[in-house]
């Protein structure tokens, strides 16, 4: 659409932006969490006398103090205790919470809580847990038939948090008949999202109400769980989410909020709970995965079957992992024509930090094996890895999964864009070598090079349930209320752009409030790259509703019927005034849609070539014109009879219209990388990164490119550096010194960011989501590129220098 500066930039460069960690309430107390020093043990005694007597301590809370409160949470499997009940299941699990006047006093007293354990065998990896008779959860917490979305959790106690599968055709028979079968097994590490603002929550329980300020990505999901746990009506629970210091999925669903709320309930004071990086790593990580892919090809290198096994290490509690596993299954086989498929997935409970959502949501784990397998297949088949993909890619409109939305992207065109950028880089390098006249530079001695492409398609957008409210004031300016949380993606900017366009006002005339469940309307989640698409549609619908309400007010003031008022050029006209410019006049009960059609030609001019509206967008009064008619401000002031009042529009998205078929869109990941490998050290340098943002329409191109580079960089982190390492019961690297994330000097030497805008999405103006896509294929692309450089295919990430060095040794054998 247009470049628009971020709405939050001034606040953020001046230090004025308010985050949850900055929040204070009158008479606030501070909590420190006593965490388990065992991975798996029965709690035999908790001695808190010394802590309770320590200076400044208000109370020390354990599970037994929680009375009638719902002690467990978990939106899919309610297996997660606020404070450990009877036993602990991972090192770092909250056992008690100390509430004191100051953070220092709370931290000091937490050291004085003495916990006795009766040790159980610690099952710290998925293979061990699945093979063991020792149960991490000795009971099922599910009511019969209980499910979340289409995920019906496994009500078993065999260390399985979830099991699922997807199949069509006869994969086994097709593999047996295939000309070539290629098998790939990869290990995806345990990774930590590291949002720089670590989890925190401030809670104020009062009789009949609960107010929480937290880092929650999904405030309405948190509200639902808190209401259940505290036996309160939804309306009595207020979850306020200011700016979030990074989310990336890691702040999805409920984290510290129940702990803060229980502490406030116990102490009778507002209580703040924060985490350091170590505690944050104990709070949530991403699912580790062992994935095996077997692909059968016919003599023409066309896929005849894929058989895939996914095993997640889900940690001590299910959190969102059952849904992540289900998505991982859907995202594991790639956007290819696959006549026979079988994917089986299991998420294992282990005695490690609980896993949950992280950017990509199961796609990076599965694509590592799936896309590396395509490269290995190309090698075996003796054809180019780009060509093997080209031969098998689905076309726009093809079915990926029966019953779901057909593919809404042109992947061959995306692939061409990647290859062209990679080729350009190679040509530029050759030209530079020629120009320098240095013949030796052509062969960097001691350096190996490799390049690779990778593609993914994710069923994204989550549930299309969204509500937006636009309040137009007496001067025609607008307050937009949505519950989407702003965690850096720029949703307040993009949604303001959509509202400004729909209402024909400058973006400066649109204010966007922060999410606060007391004031902002219902939103399913802020995740799955959904906001611009799904919430954007809700904003468009709210603006259409606002125009209808303005038409009604204008008609009422003039003593005519609503059918006599049309919207044209951002103004309201009585049909007689515009009959010479608007054929058909768009009158009728659903007249907005009709006049949208009536003004089609003009609208297309105003929008510019190649842009179109879909669904509610057709209702948008987008023609720019001036002169006759009334401005919305004039209509409002006339109707209220004063320079006062406001008119409100509400827009709702549900599983209907543009979002009737799920997913709301397929989020495409399309990347290429060129790497160099230092033969002496095994160090990998990313020479060139190419991302194609296949977003249908970029409402704000700078924001989309920002999402793509940020997501791809997190993918590089997983590919090259990031890994939580367990040694026995304990995480050995719970800090940012030993858990290494990408730094500035790790950035690729060249970055090409392409936006593919083909208007093929269901969102506003043909938009589709961005945010996860550019991460999903990156670990696979890097693994394949390093494999090509070294001559041995990697099986495990991250590709640290020691790992690559041992690949180099294998290559020489």
């Amino acid at each position: 659409m247009t470049a628009a500066p971020r709405r939050d930039a001034w606040e953020k460069v001046t230090g004025r932006a308010r985050y949850a960690v900055d929040a204070v309430l009158p008479n606030m107390a501070h909590a420190a969490v006593v965490r388990s020093e065992r991975a798996h043990a029965y709690l035999t005694a908790i001695d808190r006398a010394e802590a309770e007597a320590a200076p400044g301590v208000i109370t020390v809370v354990t599970a037994e103090d929680l009375g009638d409160l719902g002690r467990r949470f978990g939106h899919i499997v309610p297996d997660h205790a606020i404070l450990a009940v009877d036993k602990v299941r991972y090192y770092g699990e909250p056992v008690a919470v100390v509430v004191a006047e100051t953070p220092h006093q709370a931290a000091d007293a937490a050291e004085m809580v003495w916990v006795d354990y009766d040790d159980l065998p610690a099952l710290t990896d998925a293979a061990t847990a699945l093979a063991s008779d020792v149960l991490i959860h000795e009971q099922s917490y599910l009511e019969p038939g209980q499910k979340f979305l289409d995920v019906a959790p496994t009500a078993s106690t065999d260390n399985v948090a979830h099991r699922n599968e997807l199949a069509w055709g006869d994969a086994e028979a097709a593999l047996a008949a295939a000309a070539t079968v290629v098998e790939t097994t990869t290990t995806f590490p345990l990774v930590y999202g590291y949002a720089m603002e670590t989890y925190n929550a401030l809670a104020d329980w009062q009789p009949g109400s609960l107010h929480v300020v937290s880092t929650a990505q999904h405030p309405l999901m948190v509200r639902r769980e808190l209401a259940r746990m505290f036996s309160l009506p939804l309306a009595a629970v207020r979850v306020e989410v200011p700016y979030i210091g990074g989310g990336y999925g890691s702040k999805s669903y409920t984290k510290l909020e129940p702990l803060a709320a229980a502490a406030s309930w116990a102490a009778g004071r507002p209580v703040k709970v924060t985490t350091d990086v170590e505690a944050a790593m104990y709070t949530t990580r991403a699912d580790g995965a062992l994935v095996t892919v077997r692909t059968g090809f016919d003599a023409d290198a066309r896929i005849c079957a894929r058989d895939i096994d996914i095993r997640f290490d889900t940690g001590a509690y299910a959190d969102n992992s059952p849904l992540v596993l289900t998505k991982s299954i859907n995202r594991s086989f790639g956007p290819y024509r696959i006549p026979n498929l079988r994917v089986r997935g299991v998420a294992a409970y282990t005695n490690t930090s609980p896993a949950s959502s992280y950017r990509g949501f199961g796609a990076p784990q599965a694509a590592l094996a799936g896309e590396l397998n395509m490269d290995m297949a190309a090698d075996r088949l003796g054809i180019d890895p780009v060509e093997v993909r080209r031969r098998n890619l689905l076309a726009p409109g093809d079915t990926i999964i029966d019953g779901k939305r057909p593919l809404d992207a042109d992947l061959v065109a995306d692939l061409d864009a990647i290859v062209s950028a990679l080729d350009q880089h190679a040509a530029d390098r050759d030209a530079a070598v020629q120009a320098s006249g240095d013949q030796h530079a052509a062969v960097d001695s001691g350096t190996l090079r490799g390049r690779a492409v990778a593609l993914t398609a994710s069923d994204a957008g989550a549930s299309p349930i969204s509500t937006a409210q636009v309040r137009m004031h007496a001067d025609g300016s607008v307050t937009l209320l949505v519950s989407s949380t702003e965690m850096g993606q720029g949703s307040r900017t993009a949604l303001a752009q959509i509202a400004a366009r729909e209402l024909c006002v400058p973006i400066e005339a649109v204010a966007v409030g922060q999410s606060d469940t007391r004031f902002t309307p219902f939103e399913w989640t802020t995740g799955a790259s959904r906001t611009t698409t799904v919430v954007g549609l809700a904003v468009q619908a709210a603006c259409a509703d606002l125009w209808d309400n303005l038409r009604a007010k204008a008609a009422d003031s003039a003593g005519v019927t609503i059918d006599d008022v049309v919207v044209h050029g951002g103004r309201l006209h009585f049909t007689a005034d515009v009959s010479n410019t608007v054929s058909g006049s768009g009158a009728g009960g659903d007249g907005v849609g009709e006049h949208g059609t009536g003004l089609g030609a003009g609208a297309a001019d105003a929008l510019g070539a190649g842009e179109r509206g879909t669904g509610a967008a057709d209702a948008a009064p987008v023609v720019t014109d001036s002169g006759s008619g009334l401005t919305p401000a004039e209509v409002i002031r006339q109707w209220f009879g004063a320079d006062a009042g406001e008119v409100v529009g509400v827009g709702v998205v549900r599983r209907d219209g543009a979002t009737a078929v799920l997913p709301p869109f397929w989020e495409i990941g399309a990347v290429g990388v060129e790497v160099s490998v230092d033969e002496a050290t095994g160090e990998v340098t990313v020479e060139h990164l190419v991302t194609v943002g296949d977003v249908g329409h970029a409402v704000n191109p700078d924001l989309v490119k920002g999402q793509d580079l940020g997501a791809a960089t997190q993918g590089l982190g997983i590919a090259l550096w990031e890994e939580m390492v367990y040694d026995g019961e304990q995480l050995t690297n719970p800090n940012l010194v030993e858990y290494r994330v990408p730094r500035l000097r790790d950035t690729p030497r060249r970055i090409t960011s392409v936006l593919a805008e083909r208007g093929d999405g269901a969102g506003p103006y043909g938009a589709k989501g961005a945010g996860e896509g550019a991460l999903n294929p990156v670990p696979a692309a890097v693994a394949a590129a390093v494999g090509r450089a070294v001559g041995v295919w990697p099986t495990e990430l991250p590709l640290t220098p020691p790992r690559v060095w041992s690949l180099l040794q294998q290559a020489q054998q």
Partner: protein, 170 residues
């Protein structure tokens, strides 16, 4: 050890963003805690608490310092600059302007630390080249942007500050 009563609080006198501050602070209080919890200057953030992320960077007598790992009592007699003290009234510092113009922020949590480190760099090395920018900024982490826009912002700010200092000379 209860017998030996070392002082648990001490008076610190310093100047923070041009404002004279005199406070009795616990000796264990960090600069970040003083700024955020006692003075309401919440622009300075804390993340890794191990001096690797740079989020908490402030300038003490012009030098970049990790405020999460520096004791408030050590500020006695110093001059402290935080992100809140950079702008002149409504006029932003060129580094702040450059971060806005280059889209060099997303969630914004790391932004104050990056900006303070960039200010320190450009004060110390007004002619900093790209290698120096990358070296100085390598001590700050960002999880959102992928760094390229931040590098651009600092480079642009450097050239703009050099241009305006040329104008001042004329």
């Amino acid at each position: 050890m209860t017998g030996s009563q070392a002082p648990t609080s001490t008076v610190v006198r310093c100047r923070i963003n041009g404002r004279d501050v005199e406070m009795l602070v616990p000796v264990r209080l960090t600069v970040a805690e003083l700024l955020r919890d006692r003075l309401g200057l919440t622009g300075t953030k804390v993340s890794c608490e191990m001096q690797v992320c740079g989020v908490c960077t402030v300038l003490v007598d012009g030098n970049p310092v990790s405020s999460c790992a520096t004791l408030a009592c050590d500020l006695d007699g110093t001059e402290v600059l935080t992100v809140e003290g950079l702008a002149r009234g409504r006029n932003l510092h060129p580094v702040q302007e450059a971060f806005m113009a280059a889209n060099a922020l997303q969630c914004g949590f790391c932004t104050p630390g990056f900006i303070m480190m960039a200010v320190a760099l450009l004060d110390a090395r007004p002619d900093a080249d790209q290698a120096e920018v990358r070296e100085w900024m390598d001590g700050n982490l960002c999880r959102c942007t992928g760094y390229a826009p931040i590098e651009t912002a600092v480079t642009v700010a450097a050239s703009r500050m050099n241009d305006s200092s040329l104008e001042d000379d004329q």
